[in-house]
């Protein structure tokens, strides 16, 4: 690899943050994106701060109905966690369609979020769960909705000295369905063509919460908020679901690339939104 940088391997979060306060410092978590970028010289940091030994950043905790996961939690941790299986089925589904084993064993939740890739598979599920992200630096800590974190293509609200410390969300209500579908050109280890995550809650025959998050169909992963608004407070009839799915497709801003055309992606937003919301409505009766 024709790349030149220094590498520090702090043992604590505090030490890591101090290092990250330096100019040109970049955190290294699983490395599954960053090392590839370094080799291709897409990024040329001066200093890498490895988070390998910062144990406090890794883990899954559940208290008072709130789930909190450390930024360095790996995709394998998520997939194999009984707590996540009940608190965020969509996240497990995303993990089950995420790269291959070795990458899942290394890749982290924070890394996937911070990569800024429109095809980052953990993000639509987290958006569909109304997750918050907590950033930390030597200057302090701040928490924001994950939806506010993404600004534009590979641009986010994080500062260069900040780490994603935790991601947290409220466990969805009992009568809710949370699901993700990844459409790709191959079943195993493939980049997403269109990914849709939904959370649908129904009480008394009416939809009390609708979240629809769309991956790989815009410069950032986004929520289809108008479509969500169409569903909330209403009985989920096939006609309404169809209309909302159509609206979600309208909110997407896909591009043509080698994997698929923009037109197909937009159509898939409609198909998958309709499918996931319909399945949820069916399951919740």
């Amino acid at each position: 690899m024709d790349a030149r940088f220094d590498l520090e391997m702090p043992e604590s979060c505090e030490e890591a943050l101090t290092l990250l306060a330096q100019d040109g410092a970049v955190p290294l978590a699983g490395g599954t994106d960053l090392i590839v970028d370094l080799r291709a010289r897409r990024r040329e940091p001066r200093l890498l701060v490895s988070l390998d030994r910062v144990a406090e950043l890794r883990g899954i905790a559940a208290k008072n109905g709130r789930i909190e996961i450390g930024g360095r939690t790996t995709v394998t941790d998520l997939v194999r966690s009984p707590a996540i299986a009940t608190a965020a089925p969509s996240l497990v589904q995303a993990g089950m369609a995420f790269a291959g084993q070795m990458v899942r064993n290394a890749a982290t939740v924070a890394g996937n979020i911070a990569s800024g890739s429109p095809a980052a598979d953990l993000v639509p599920p987290l958006l569909s769960l109304d997750a918050d992200v907590t950033l930390i630096s030597t200057r302090g800590e701040r928490t924001m909705p994950l939806a506010a974190f993404f600004i534009d293509y590979r641009k986010n609200a994080g500062q260069s000295d900040e780490l994603i410390r935790t991601i947290s969300w409220q466990r969805p209500p009992e009568r809710a369905v949370n699901a993700f579908y990844k459409l790709a050109r191959r079943k195993g280890d493939a980049i997403t063509v269109t990914g849709v995550a939904v959370t649908v809650a129904i009480e008394g025959g009416r939809c009390t919460r609708a979240r629809i998050a769309l991956g790989a169909v815009a410069p950032t992963i986004l929520r289809a908020q108008q479509a969500e608004a169409m569903l909330e407070g209403k009985a989920l009839t096939p006609a309404l679901i169809e209309a909302a799915a159509h609206e979600a497709a309208g909110q997407s801003r896909p591009i043509d690339d080698i994997r698929a055309s923009a037109e197909y992606r937009r159509h898939m937003v409609k198909v998958l939104t309709r499918r996931l919301v319909s399945q949820a409505a069916e399951r919740l009766g």
Partner: protein, 786 residues
Amino acid sequence: MTDVAETTATLPNVVYHQIGKPLVRTDAPGKATGKTPYAGDYVMPGMVQAKVLRSPQASARLVRLDVERARALPGVVCVLTARELPDRLAPTDIPGQTGQARLKTDQQILVRERVRYHGEPLALIAAESTDIAEHAMSLIDYELAPLPGVFDPAEAMQPGAPLVQGEDNVVARHVIRKGDIAGGFAAADLVIERTYRTQFIEHAFLEPEVGLAWVDENGVVNIRVSTQVIEHFRFIADAIGVAHNKVRIMGALVGGGFGGKEDITVEVYLALLAKHTGRPVRLEFSREDSFMGHGKRHPFALTYKTGIKRDGTITALDARILSDAGAYVYLSPYVLLYAAVAAPGPYRIDNLNVEAASVATNNMYTSAFRGFGAAQACIAYEQQMDEIADALKLDRLELRRRNYLKTGDPIATGATVPSAIWTERCADLAWQALGERKEPDGPLRYGRGIAAYQQSYGRLTFLHDTSEAWVGVEVDGTVIVRSGVTDIGAGQASALAQIAIEILGVTMDNVVVYNSDSAVTPLAGTTTATRALYMTGNAVRLAAEAVRGRLLARAAQAFQTSAEHIELANNRVSVLDNSARAMPFAELVKMCAADGIQRQELSIFRAPFSDKLDPETGQGQAHPDYTYGAHAIEVAVDTETGEVSIVQSIACHDVGQCINPAAVEGQIEGGAAQGQGYALSEEMIYRDGKLMTPSFSEYLIPTAMDVPKVKSIILESRSGLGPFGAKGIGEPSLTPVAPAIANAVVDAIGVRIYDLPITPEKVVRALQALDGGSETKSGDGGTVNR
């Protein structure tokens, strides 16, 4: 999973002790324990590391190339450009010991002025480390002036198209004319005409091209390299301007080939750098280098027009075949010839017209790939058979049954096939194994498809192919096989061992195969064209039989009986029907040694030789023999997203005789997976010649989650030309898979997609067109009812 169906032997049944048994391959333990060295695992003291600088443009003029800053970088040992190689050209013709006149296809080694494809090498660098070599690449300063390029073979044939090769870009034409084509169409009740298109395909072997070269004390350039063809030493010697005996190629166990390591890859660069630096040089392609550094499978456009009677009898076929040769000729003429010969498939078509052309463009050059043109033809003829069946409302298998070639029938070239043709049994068995049809399930529609095929094994007979092997017995009763054959992962060496021990009556733990050294092991020809088992297997058989004959004579003398009454098996020598009279094999060998009886033999096996096909009619002998079989597929198609899953994948092939059934199954299962990728997910995409799929993130071969368990039904007609009646299975296992999948998709969704791969997007578009009631046939032409 295997069903070895009941054998209908055309040769007398004999009991084999080793042949036909799933013995552990000789190469397996080393590979499972990580002990096997591949070509990239060799190092030498003082070795330098090399890199290739490639053109980022597909069609350009090299205006300036300044390597001085790179040369000045500490640690850089050598930078070579075309300026340092003024007289040097690289041959790219079909390799091996052919004795035929070479095609005039010698080409520049490094860009002199004209860049013809994206990735064409501009300079070679050798440095003390890979890091330095990579850094030096970034210091080379060059200027490319874009030139108009041509990226479509049909456009490249037009007058005034930018010239890439020769006078008119056409690098080869072949015709096959037989019977009365006009009469055949006149006799037809129905004529169907369609165009089927295939894509660029990458071999995607896991081991990128790699080698290590050094010049020894005798001035011999030694190259340890991952290759299917050690006999490239001659072309390499010609390229660097030394005598043929001054280049030695040593293979290693190869990390996959599939035709992608049939042409020269790193060898000439290594030889040049070793000569210029005087030091051992190692060159390893990155994955991106590999994608840019060897020829792809040709995209084909095949326009098939078939005349049929109402009863399903084919009266005529007119096939127009066009392949994209890319920027250089390589093996395009041969691949095209295979496609022309295979054009009618395993069907008897007496009125036949095939016109085939291969045309140069500024796309990546194309060359050998498992199936070698015959696979592309199968994609056309098997889809057309289904379209004919639909048009006639005839069962798909029944239509095929009415047209299959039968044993003894002439094929496209007029030659008869020397072996049994069991296509019908294969297709019926594979189809029956699919079981009950599945009902639609929500948006999922199930469909099934069949494809039969004809695929040659052995090289074109006008190449006058031969293979040599040496078999010897040591005084302790162990056996040595020596042969130049390269082992590219199918167990080529192990199969030779199994043949030798069958004939000599010893067990697998008592044999060693030394292979793949052009200076030391007898030249066996290439591991290509599904020929290794057929050719070198026969050479080993001949050598082992010669040794056996002498051993039997000595044993007969010892037991005072005749040689026909001696059995050699399981390291024992015994008198038939009298097991009390026996001795260890080693004891017999010692007797021979004591008597000075020769215990080794070097044998040559010659394939049938022929002249070239008649240039006007394409009639004559093309290949030694053919393998026949079929593949059946069941798919599930998500009609909303267009995703296609393979639910069942069932192969039935007549392999003649299994040497090692586990290895045969391995070939079939691997071929099924490659065929699945060919049909559904794989495509090397070039936009204006530029590679858009430079890694395994974009070029999608099937993963463990994509491929179903493959069921292999293996038939043994014992009628092949290989040892013990074996046929070849390497290429045949792949050939029918993609068209079977294409046919299954149509069965599921009621509309055909005429260009591979069948992506989810194409499925959705085809279904939308069907729903819209608009013209659904994206194939050119249409059905004409008469």
